[in-house]
């Protein structure tokens, strides 16, 4: 059976033109996909979590869910974390569960583009959908990101190469890569601007001062860049963790957002974060419409309260503040500083995941679930905020994240 227009559940590009062939409920071929996407579709059944586990022992699904709910209900300060690699329906249920439990809930943005959100909360954000870039952009800047390895089809589908309404293709666009090392992405650039690690804030500040007419001490390379930005007809900055994770974090992003704001005095300019996980944007969206806040939310007082640094997962774990944890579609033992995830091994941790992960290895309860976007349908939001419908292309007896969470909610309410 051939499934067309499948939405890829890997990165924030959320490519929706994947063609997947299944035979006897097995994926046998994947077309249009990048290497990672192909690996995800073709290996989705490899290393699966075979059965529900409590303390390493196989149990029935119901027993695992019962045990998980008992642990969470009796905790004084439970943490729910993950969400970015599952569908919005599951996210909405997870938020509801957090509310009922009086838990802290955080999603993976806090260790990814969380600083981007903090920057936006200070400065706002001048952005556009990816099609605007394809149709109009004559200057494309990738700053502190490496789409050639992380968002592999971004160049081809959305920015550098495609023909758009007002741009014929690659030769009508200037492409600049700004990074601390010559990444694979730098190879497709018209210009590569190499910067010293940890100097983005200084560089952007100088560029902004230049735009305000203070022209001293701006290195030639940056002056050429800012002149290009001023004089293009439609410019865009795509930025990544090079800005959010390095020294300055949200202030780096804040500066970049202000730079783009300033550039709109001269021309049309936008900026868009290169979101990592395929539905991390959705996690921020669902949390925002239900609680008002996109991440790091606490329900201990019966209403939502947010404060990254206080209710963010890394901080809550590093300070050992939580006494139980539910991890949904994420692997903090692989992604968090060891200092932070160690605490997950000390408390009863519950993991919902289709696969064996580092966190399932240290968890008290493991619950196998369907892989969203392959075995379960639902909504996901692309990095630019466009929602698309994930498809179910393989049948499974495993419940979706949303179904397991619904059960937990019923049990907590009972």
């Amino acid at each position: 059976m051939i499934h067309e227009n499948v939405v890829c559940p890997f990165c924030g590009c959320l490519c929706d033109d994947i063609v997947v062939t299944t035979e006897d409920n097995q994926i046998t071929d994947v077309k249009n996909a990048c290497a990672i996407s192909k690996s995800k579709f073709l290996n989705h059944h490899v290393n699966m979590l075979e059965s529900a586990l409590v303390d390493g022992k196989e149990v029935s699904m119901d027993e695992a869910v019962d045990r998980a709910t008992e642990i969470l209900s009796s905790a004084d300060n439970p943490l729910i974390y993950g969400l970015s690699s599952t569908e919005c329906e599951a996210q909405r249920h997870a938020i509801h569960l957090a509310e009922l439990l009086g838990a802290t809930i955080d999603q993976t943005a806090s260790v990814c583009h969380g600083p981007t959100i903090l920057g936006t909360q200070d400065a706002g954000c001048v952005k556009c959908t990816l099609g605007e870039v394809k149709n109009r952009a004559d200057l494309i800047i990738y700053w502190g990101c490496n789409p050639a390895e992380a968002h592999i089809r971004h160049f081809r589908r959305y920015s550098v190469f495609p023909e758009g309404l007002f741009r014929k293709g690659r030769n009508e666009r200037e492409v600049v890569v700004v990074d601390v090392r010559a990444t694979a992405s730098a190879r497709i650039a018209t210009t590569f601007v190499k910067t010293e690690p940890g100097t983005d804030f200084e560089n952007i500040s100088l560029m902004r001062a230049y735009l305000k007419g203070k022209r001293d001490s701006l290195p030639d390379e940056l002056r050429d860049l800012v002149e290009k930005m001023k004089t293009c007809t439609f410019g865009i900055i795509f930025f990544g963790l090079g800005l959010t994770m390095s020294k300055g974090k949200h202030l780096n992003v804040d500066a970049a957002l202000r730079l783009v704001r300033d550039l709109n005095e001269f021309t049309k300019f936008s900026i868009t974060p290169m979101r990592g996980h395929y539905n991390v944007t959705g996690a921020g969206s669902t949390m925002a419409w239900v609680t008002g806040y996109p991440f790091s939310v606490n329900f201990a007082l019966g209403y939502p309260l947010s404060n990254p640094g206080e209710f963010s997962a890394v901080d809550v774990l590093a300070r050992k503040e939580c006494d139980a944890a539910l991890i949904i579609a994420s692997d903090p033992a692989a992604n968090f500083p060891a200092e932070a995830w160690k605490h997950l091994a000390d408390i009863p941790t519950i993991v919902m995941d289709p696969k064996v992960s580092l966190t399932t290895r240290i968890a008290k309860v493991s619950i196998p679930v369907a892989t969203a976007g392959i075995e379960a349908e639902g909504t996901a939001y692309r990095m630019d905020g466009i929602p698309l419908r994930l498809k179910k292309i393989v049948q499974t007896s495993r419940p979706s994240d949303a179904a397991v969470l619904t059960k937990m909610i019923e049990k907590v309410r009972a």
């Binding site: 004084d76 300060n77 009086g102 804030f201 500040s205 001062a209 020294k247 300055g248 202030l251 006494d323």
Partner: protein, 268 residues
């Protein structure tokens, strides 16, 4: 009133009721019954503290590093913490005084509008700062820290004074719109990022952002008056005659923004 904590875990306690405004006019029995949260569990104050009426109006606490929002929004009276305090100490306070004999966690004095906070140990991040998204942080009042402070001290500050005798983390005075920040130790990097107005006074040489420009060496008249007044406070701030009469190098910035902020570096 003396509150001896009975807390043995790292579970955070939310207790904005520990404030003179809330205690005043209440009997000991009523105070004991005030609502606090231990994690997500609603409790009475007496469940978490051994409360003794010591006949004083001052609220005295033992070491409470996990207790948040002590003195939140208080308008008068006094709190003494005989040890460490948790996050949001004195947040949005309008008057009165808080003394911490140990160290405090992040957001102490955040968005405060008056009153005084004295910290004998270290302070965390966002001291006298703003909550995310706010238009302004500290807007009047005085904070004195004997030890070190974390990042983004005095972020979005509009009015008021912050004195840190130890070192500062990065981005102190970021987005500052007014007020004065004084540091005696090593200031962190990117001081005054996005600064619009206000003054940062330093007694060790900083690494300055390239968007601050040198103006002059001089002895600012306002600073003399200011330091003399500050010396009168009971906090033993190490102000010398030399500081009052000496010369300062003045830098202004952040020129990527309005650029009317100043950083004064003591020269001698």
């Amino acid at each position: 009133m003396f509150l001896n904590p009975l807390l043995k875990t790292a579970i955070p306690v939310t207790a904005p009721c520990i404030a003179p405004d809330c205690f005043s006019g209440k009997s000991v029995k009523e105070i004991k019954a005030l609502t606090v949260y231990y994690g997500n569990k609603e409790k009475h104050l007496q469940d978490l503290f051994d409360i003794k009426d010591d006949g004083q109006d001052v609220i005295t606490l033992g070491s409470v590093p996990t207790v948040k929002y002590i003195g939140k929004g208080m308008t008068a009276g006094s709190i003494v913490v005989k040890g460490d305090a948790g996050m949001h100490l004195g947040a949005e306070m309008k008057g009165g005084r808080i003394t911490v004999e140990g160290s405090v966690s992040d957001w102490a004095g955040a968005e405060m509008k008056g009153g005084e906070i004295f910290i004998a140990g270290n302070a965390g991040h966002c001291l006298g700062g703003a909550y995310r998204g706010s238009k302004s942080g500290m807007n009047k009042g005085l904070i004195v820290v004997k030890g070190n402070a974390g990042t983004e001290v005095g972020g979005l500050m509009k009015k008021g004074i912050i004195v840190v005798e130890g070192t500062l983390g990065d981005a102190a005075g970021c987005n500052m719109k007014g007020g004065t920040l004084i540091c005696y130790g090593r200031p962190g990097d990117r001081l005054g990022a996005f600064m619009q107005r206000g003054s940062i006074v330093l007694y060790e040489s900083p690494y300055l952002l390239p968007t601050f420009t040198y103006n002059a060496v001089y002895n600012p008249t306002w600073l003399r008056v200011f330091l003399r007044e500050l010396a009168k406070t009971p906090y033993k701030i190490p102000i010398t005659q030399g500081h009052i009469e000496g010369a300062y190098r003045r830098y202004n910035g952040d020129i990527s923004e309005l650029g009317k902020g100043e950083i004064l570096v003591f020269q001698g």
